[in-house]
Point group: C2
Chain length 190, copies 2
């Protein structure tokens, strides 16, 4: 379906308390999972940073998704940051089920080994955040997982790629310019 | 401190299941709270949509904030969407404590009555999302509130204002252009 070859990113380790730089702006992410030989990718927009140390991230992953079982059984996943150029793959991944197709193959994405987690990362994403389930008290009632980030790898780039932000109704917002207001901050808040 | 007069927005009701259009892209929001005659505003970037119906939103509100007690005691808050033009107020609100100053007065913002919640909305914000605590099981351990959206009001505008997205380190991303990919979606996913 998708034979376009996308850029692959080489990545270096990032201290886990710094993942907020990537997640807090609210991008759509691709969550990879694996268990018992099966792998999958899902598109996710419902996530939030929850703590710096330990580095915690909360994700709402519907029980109707094929990924839900892979994550719950394996105890982990990888949160991957797609550049905006992957928008068609992001939509396609969100509109298909891993129970029916191999999403890596279908969307031309390359799995790469993670360091702490069974699930692979995605070479065509510029950040990979490896997560283990930390608290599952809201999973049965709300499909809400609290993950601890146990490793993170990001591409070292002069300019960070634009990201995708979903607004519903099939419409995305593409991240815009950056503005540095650090001079206005109380240094203890930085 | 801030005598600049910002634009005030007239707002109309929005069905509560549609608040994802405003929150899912990940903007910085201003959370208003009130209890026993005291009111406050805090800047928040750690939130996520959790469900459409009931309309649920999760927020990580540190127990160190003056707002935490007001929200816990009153049982609610209002999530307000500031346009990017309010960036200096957003930073100032995030770097001061409502225990020491009246943030509405200090930052030149206008409280307006909410329909379902004790806390006021902010006239200079273009969307106001009224919330009641729905699940507090993760509050003691993670300062994480699950809120149910009980009312929402948004400005009817030809063009939605740009929003602020925080990346840490005093740097914000300003929302960019929108791109409609609805033609690629399975209609059941819209």
């Amino acid at each position: 379906m998708n034979t376009h070859r996308h850029r692959r990113f080489a990545k270096s380790p990032l201290p886990v308390h710094l993942v907020r730089r990537y997640l807090e702006p609210g991008p759509v992410v691709l969550v990879t999972s694996a268990h018992g030989g099966a792998t999958n990718i899902m598109t996710l927009g419902w996530h939030t940073v929850m703590e710096f140390t330990p580095s915690l991230v909360g994700c709402m992953i519907s029980a109707g998704n094929h990924s839900f079982d892979l994550i719950r059984r394996s105890g982990g996943c990888v949160i991957n940051l797609p550049p905006a150029s992957l928008i068609d793959a992001v939509v396609g991944i969100g509109n298909t089920s891993g129970a029916a197709i191999d999403k890596f193959r279908t969307f031309g994405l390359t799995p790469t080994s993670s360091t702490e987690i069974e699930a692979p990362a995605i070479a065509e994403c510029f950040a990979s955040i490896e997560c283990r389930i930390s608290d599952d008290r809201l999973v049965d009632s709300h499909n809400f997982f609290v993950f601890e980030v146990v490793a993170a790898h990001v591409a070292t780039l002069r300019r960070r790629p634009a990201t995708l932000h979903y607004t519903g109704d099939g419409v995305f917002m593409i991240s815009g310019r950056r503005i540095d207001k650090s001079a206005l901050f109380d240094p203890r808040m930085l």
